[in-house]
């Protein structure tokens, strides 16, 4: 008798499980942090890891440390209900008694602007279990860009230095305090909510900024070409321009002929007035950003970003060494921060100046 009851309840749970994960899978939902990893795979990986582990964590990544990306702030501000609804689904999916804690790892300013709203929503009776597990974690000011890299984030929560970890193991199997950990971006939980409510239309949030009239966060289909995003938001420039996609530091530079493709990564669009942009200053800005945000753990990024920034500040420098370092960063950095430095630089040279550098 006992066994039978157990079986039914499992089946019942299994049904909702399967239902939700199938929906997420057929919606082809990918993480909105930038890397674009399928959401269903990640959730299943944590679920699988929980077969041999007793507890797990959920971490919401709302660190949003890169200039030019403000979509998480926007969602927390405008759609906190859906965000919490999505988070609660993940909580239920992994098992309420198995999730030890849920960290909302947020940019410090976002905590100020949205913590109260979120707390109010959590006060609702239907979220009483969730509320007990949720803890706000303010990204330390000195954590910088790398503070939003998922394994650095885990280290920060654990009280360690904000530096990325060696992979494998991956957070899904050995994350926070070595327990299976589900890490998703704020927007990802929002998307999950829409999927569950059958309201997901394949939209995403675009942060548009730069030399435009109406900067802000817009919601358009994920596959909409950049050109259309600019046009439909009434931001298409009437001057010669180029854009940076996916972050004002690590984003790729595209010329205006190349924007007939969807925006990838964190879906931000920065518009530069080609005639008013000081090339040297722009490159210096990028290099300074990387130099300031390098955590210092690995040689190539620590020393490389420092040497590049030193060189660009100097009047003359050895071009070969400069580009050798850029290439080493691309090919041998520890994490995606270092290896993304070449993206804006090389794409700027390739797409704006027509020069292949490395």
């Amino acid at each position: 008798m006992k066994a039978k009851t157990k079986k039914t309840s499992l089946k019942k749970n299994g049904a909702t499980h399967v239902d939700l994960i199938n929906k997420i899978e057929s919606a082809a939902l990918v993480g909105r942090g930038g890397a674009g990893y399928p959401v269903a795979w990640k959730w299943k990986a944590v679920e699988e890891a929980l077969k041999s582990e007793k507890e797990a964590y959920i971490v919401v990544n709302g660190a949003e440390g890169e200039p030019g990306v403000k979509k998480d702030a926007f969602i927390l501000e405008k759609h906190p209900e859906d965000f919490i609804f999505g988070l609660n689904l993940a909580f239920e999916f992994l098992g309420k008694n198995k999730v030890k804690k849920i960290y909302l790892f947020l940019n410090k300013t976002y905590i100020k602007s949205s913590a109260n709203k979120i707390r109010k929503i959590l006060a609702d009776k239907k979220y009483s279990d969730l509320e007990k597990k949720v803890e706000f974690f303010s990204k330390p000011l000195d954590a910088g860009y790398i503070g939003g890299e998922e394994s650095s984030m885990l280290n920060i929560i654990e009280g360690k230095k904000g530096e990325p970890r060696i992979r494998p193991p991956f957070p899904t199997t050995s994350g926070l305090f070595s327990k299976p950990t589900l890490i998703n971006n704020v927007e990802t939980f929002f998307d999950v909510a829409l999927v569950a409510k059958d309201e997901y239309r394949g939209d995403r949030f675009y942060t548009i900024s730069g030399a435009i009239k109406k900067p802000g966060v817009y919601r358009f289909p994920a596959l909409m070409p950049i050109e259309n995003v600019l046009k439909q938001s009434a931001n298409y420039p009437n001057f010669d321009f180029f854009v940076q996609i996916g972050g004002n530091a690590s984003g790729e530079i595209l010329n205006k002929e190349q924007i007939n493709v969807p925006a990838d990564s964190a879906a931000s669009i920065m518009v530069y007035d080609k005639n008013k942009t000081d090339e040297k200053k722009l490159i210096e800005y990028w290099l300074k950003f990387y130099f300031n945000n390098s955590c210092g753990q690995c040689l190539t990024c620590r020393e490389g970003t420092y040497r590049l920034y030193e060189m660009i500040k100097a009047k003359t420098y050895d071009q070969k060494i400069f580009w050798d370092i850029v290439s080493a960063l691309d090919d041998s950095s520890f994490c995606a921060l270092g290896s993304s430095l070449p993206i804006p630089l090389l794409s700027y040279y390739r797409n704006i100046k027509g020069v292949e550098k490395v």
């Binding site: 230095k161 060696i166 210092g296 690995c298 620590r302 050798d324 370092i325 080493a328 041998s332 520890f334």
Partner: protein, 586 residues
């Protein structure tokens, strides 16, 4: 009952530089490559430490991977194709090497690590300049821990091995301050932490930024001066490790060559600390017997010949100090034997003799300047050199070490018993004392059937904590050996349940000491250890108290009321370690 079957590691063939080679599941690409005689340079990798993959020099290409991979952190996989030396790999590796050189202020001329330096050897191999960039660390400080160890911030390449070694020792005195290029290894300001001078930071540093405070050049000058009697004594563990620095197999016993090398360096008389270790064993075994006879005696008795353990106990556990044997450590005993006894017989004045100890240890530099260890107002030991410093002097003076004949020790003292030979291994000090205690106990009982055991294999080996119970003269004694200070806290809750505890700060004992050749790894330690136990078997006498020359000195000390002055010492609570910092102006 379930049969325990030891699983053989799975093997498969993978492609390494186009050639099919056998790979073991679970091994890294770096291990695989090195096993196949492919030299991949690396700095942060150390087989005994966690994989950090932060120096980025060991990168290789793995077919199908978008980016290069660090071979130290990449496990072999079936179907893998690895390329270790194409243009792409070389380009990234060379840039990273140049960035490493750029983060290390080169002062090679005055550096005792220059003959073994990986920075210099890779620069040569890859035909790179070590000083293409401006040094960015010129203004950094050097932190000096007493006179034993130092960390020179201008030379650190940020691999963090020292940090981990210090944590593994259970000390955690070092920390990483700052971020990005401002990160720096610094001593903690928190007064709850203190350095114990063990030198494990130095032993794991790939670029001699953490290093012993080098006295080799100062000593070299002294050796060239005429009219000084400069004598030297070398420690048990040095003989089975020094040869490594000259390409000899790990564990090779080089005691004869060491004597010749020291003669060539200009030392007037050569002594063996093994002789002095027999003094230590004798003193310690007698103290054990005294405690046995004393109903109010404090138990357990612990060893005290490891000066880092003493520094640890004096700061972290002063309440345990009455447990420490008052027997001095071997080289201090040796200093006393030389200055008070040998000098007298040689018609020399103690104050005219300069005693140099060559040891596998950095903490002994500090021990030698302890105020209570003086004779006629001067230190018993005037200079302490590590195994590495001796290797440097031999190389610097272009002595063909490998082809040296066996030299002869100063004949008044000898090369010690087998019990002394094993002092260099964890468990060895305890075993030496037990060999004598076992004999003493039997003698006392005058039972012809009493088994005066010789070997105590249960306390040997590289395990972190070794426990045993032995029966001596019909009574049972509980023993524990702490192999590496990092294991002490695990033993502490059970401290009082034992009769005798040996503590060695460095994992493996002195053979893994902070002053030993680099690299020192677990596998290398095993070979050094085997070398020591072989030596023990070859010695004609294997118990310390059977060493007649030693007994002559021992009785001299006792009969002349010099036991306190030459055989015993004391300990006191300490408030912290001695820290100074300096800035280089070049």
């Amino acid at each position: 009952m379930k049969k325990i079957i030891k699983k053989e590691p799975k093997t498969f063939k993978i492609k390494l530089n186009g050639k099919l080679v056998l790979a073991y599941e679970g091994e890294t690409v770096l291990t695989l490559a090195r096993r196949n005689k492919i030299n991949i340079p690396s700095f942060c990798y150390h087989p005994d430490l966690s994989v950090k993959a932060n120096c980025r020099v060991c990168v290789v290409e793995i077919k199908g991977s978008v980016k290069l991979k660090t071979s130290c952190s990449t496990l072999v996989e079936e179907g893998m194709e690895i390329i270790t030396d194409n243009e792409r790999v070389k380009k990234a590796r060379e840039t990273n090497l140049e960035l490493i050189y750029a983060s290390h202020v080169e002062r090679c001329g005055g550096c005792s690590y220059r003959f073994d330096c990986n920075l210099l050897s890779t620069a040569k191999e890859y035909d790179l300049e070590v000083s293409r960039f401006k040094d960015r660390k010129k203004t950094r400080k050097t932190y000096k821990f007493a006179n034993a160890v130092e960390i020179d911030g201008t030379q650190c390449i940020d691999c963090r091995n020292c940090l981990e070694a210090c944590v593994n020792q259970g000390i955690s005195y070092l920390e990483l301050s700052g971020k990005g290029i401002d990160q720096e290894i610094v001593p903690k300001k928190d007064k709850k932490f203190a350095c114990v001078y063990c030198g494990q930071c130095a032993l794991h540093c790939p670029v001699a930024s953490a290093q012993e405070q080098d006295q080799s050049l100062e000593l070299e000058k002294l050796l060239k001066l005429k009219g000084k009697t400069v004598v030297v004594q070398f420690a048990p563990a040095v003989r089975v490790s020094l040869g490594e620095s000259f390409g000899l197999p790990y564990g090779t016993n080089c005691e004869g060559k060491i004597v010749s090398a020291l003669k060539k360096l200009g030392f007037n008389y050569i002594f063996d600390i093994n002789f002095a270790a027999d003094i230590t064993t004798m003193t310690e075994a007698e103290e054990f017997m005294e405690r046995l006879a004393d109903k109010k005696a404090i138990w357990p008795m612990t060893t005290s010949c490891c000066p880092a353990w003493v520094a640890y106990a004096e700061f972290y556990h002063p309440e345990l100090l009455p447990h420490l044997t008052t027997a001095r450590s071997p080289h201090i005993h040796g200093g006393g034997a030389i200055k008070a006894y040998w000098a007298k017989k040689k018609n020399l004045k103690a104050e005219d003799i300069i005693v140099v100890s060559v040891v596998p240890c950095t903490a002994k530099k500090y021990e030698a300047i302890r105020p209570e260890l003086k004779y006629k107002g001067k230190p018993l030991v005037d200079f302490v050199l590590t195994t590495r410093e001796l290797a440097f002097l031999i190389k610097k003076n272009r002595i063909d070490f490998v082809n040296l004949p066996d030299g002869k020790l100063e004949p008044m003292f000898n090369a010690g018993s087998g019990a002394a030979a094993i002092y260099g291994a964890s468990g060895g000090v305890m075993e030496s004392a037990l060999r004598s205690v076992a004999s003493f106990v039997c003698e006392k009982g005058k039972d012809p059937l009493c088994d005066a055991r010789l070997e105590f294999k249960e306390v040997r080996g590289l395990e972190g904590i070794k426990e045993a119970e032995v029966k001596l003269g019909g009574k049972k004694y509980k023993l524990a050996v702490v192999n590496g200070l990092g294991n002490f806290s695990k033993l502490l809750p059970n401290f009082s349940k034992y009769h005798y505890i040996e503590v060695m700060a460095c994992p493996g004992g002195c053979l893994g000491g902070g002053g030993q050749p680099i690299p020192t790894t677990k596998a290398i330690k095993e070979k050094r250890m085997a070398g020591l136990y072989n030596l023990d078997k070859k010695r004609t006498i294997r118990r310390a108290h059977e060493n007649k020359e030693m007994l002559a000195f021992y009785n001299f000390a006792k009969e002349n009321g010099l036991a306190k002055q030459l055989l015993h010492t004391g300990f006191k609570k300490s408030k912290g370690s001695i820290l100074t910092s300096t800035k280089d102006n070049n």
